[in-house]
Structures are given as structure tokens and as C-alpha cells.
Amino acid sequence: MDAVERNIAVVRRLEDAFNDRRYSDLDQLVANVFEGHNPGSSEVSVEGLVSNNESWHAAMPDKRTEVVSTFGDGDRVVARIQDRGTNTGGLPWFGIPANGRKMDMGWVQITRHGQDGRIIEMWALADVPGLLSQLGAVARPR
């Protein structure tokens, strides 16, 4: 397996770990010094990734994340990803109560990997307006 294939496997294993809430795997997948960039919001640490995932699982206990497609180049991996679940727990950070509605949200991610394959930096953007519309919240400007 070359470095690009290994980096792609790391990206897939990370989403498997989040699906199964198996956070002990993160040591092997994310570097000790890590920066997550979600444009439009604050920087995210490894602990932030875990707490985000826990919040999503509380909102949607059936949430599953599927890595739809990937490719790599040098130390980068690009992934198109889909999150699906049912809002049975509510998303208080968006002001959305539990309402049983379904989410099918796309997002895109670019990761930068170290020589050992672990993720050093991550940039991700999700279709938040689409999500809000699916969950029956305000998606259009007021």
C-alpha cells in the first residue's frame, strides 16, 4: 500500500471510528498536534471532534456516516461524505427540537496527513442550509 492509499484508509477508518464511537482508535488516526478548520466557525481540536460526534449521536442515535468517494495526492486526501440519521434528540446548537425528521446531509473534506499517515489538518464544509431545510428549520434568510 502506498502512502496515498494508506492516507485514504485513515480517512475511512476515522469515519468508522466515529460511527461506532470507538474513540480509542483516534490515537492511530489523528496526530498529537492537530488542527481542524471548519470555515465559518472556530478551530477544532481532537477533543472537539469527539464532542461534536457525541452531540450528533445525542441528536441522532441512528446517525451513520458514509464515505462516498475519495482520492489522494501527496499528503492530501479529498473525501465526499454523506451523513444520514433521524432527529430524535434535537439539535440545540441550531435551536431545533427533536421532531423525528430525517437528515441526509452531504459534506466535503480535505485532510493533510503526516508521514505516518495520521491526520494533521482537516478542512470540512457541510451543506448546512440543506440540513436545516430537511429538519424543518429556517433554511432561507429571514
Binding site: 496515498v4 470555515p39 465559518g40 450528533w56 495526492d73 436545516l132 434568510p141
Partner: protein, 146 residues
């Protein structure tokens, strides 16, 4: 068969510059394959090449001082991944049905493009952070974090 990744990365940077900074929609049109497919169409735009060009035109019309900067570009010779920063002023109505606010925005997008053997662009899936734009234009309250 694929093309040299460096060639596609350079072509991507040029596409961003020509389309958004030089407002050269003829260049954009010549870059898209005739069978181009949009995988992330906004409401009201067809998923074909004509819809993609109409969407680019609409974005240019929404901001008369729009600038785009390629922040990162990745290619395996068959796909391009690109992170772009878009800055400008909402002079023409960035959101359908909402009059121009005159406020400025500074947002990012991440795009994935499949490239044909001849170098033309075949398929696009991308997310531009329009939620962030709505917040910056003061059209919605700021969302919290999960």
C-alpha cells in the same frame, strides 16, 4: 487514462481566476464538458452545463467586487479538489428573493470536480459556505456549535 496532476492543478487555478476574478464566463463555458453534470445544484438551476453557467453568472451578478483565491488544490489526475476563498460585497442580491444588503462577505468553498481525458470538467460536487454568508450579511442569527 489520466492527466498529469500538476497540469490539472494549474488548470484549476486558472479556471478560478478567469471565472471569478476576470469574470470570463466564456472561459468557464469552454472548460466544461458538453455532458457536464452538477451533483450539488441549488434550487432552480438545472444540473447540466447550462445550469452551471447560469449559476456562475448569478454569483458574479450578486457581487460586483467579487474576488476568489485558490487556497489549496489537490489532484490525482482524474479529479480535482479545491478550497477557494470568496470575498466581496452583496451588491446584487446574493440570496434569491433578498434585496442586496450592501454588506461584505468572506466565505470558503470546497469543490470536487471529475475531469475528462481531454481535460474538460465532467462533474462537480461542491459546498460554498452559504450559511456563513447568511450570518455575515446579518440575514440569520449566528448558529452555535454542536
Amino acid at each position: 487514462m489520466s492527466r498529469a496532476p500538476d497540469e490539472l492543478k494549474e488548470a484549476c487555478r486558472r479556471f478560478v481566476d478567469e471565472t471569478f476574478n476576470k469574470r470570463n464566463l466564456d472561459y468557464a463555458e469552454s472548460s466544461l464538458n458538453v455532458n457536464f453534470v452538477e451533483d450539488s445544484p441549488p434550487a432552480g438551476f438545472p444540473r447540466d452545463k447550462s445550469g452551471a453557467i447560469a449559476r456562475l453568472k448569478r454569483f458574479l451578478e450578486a457581487s460586483d467586487d467579487l474576488r476568489a483565491e485558490t487556497l489549496d488544490v489537490v489532484s490525482d489526475g482524474r479529479h480535482i479538489g479545491v478550497r477557494v476563498r470568496y470575498t466581496g460585497t452583496d451588491t446584487g442580491g446574493l440570496f434569491p428573493g433578498v434585496p442586496a444588503t450592501g454588506r461584505s462577505f468572506d466565505i470558503e468553498g470546497i469543490h470536487i470536480v471529475a475531469v475528462n481525458q481531454d481535460g474538460s470538467l465532467l462533474e462537480h460536487y461542491g459546498i460554498v459556505d452559504m450559511r456563513d454568508a447568511m450570518e455575515q450579511l446579518d440575514l440569520v442569527p449566528s448558529a452555535g456549535q454542536p
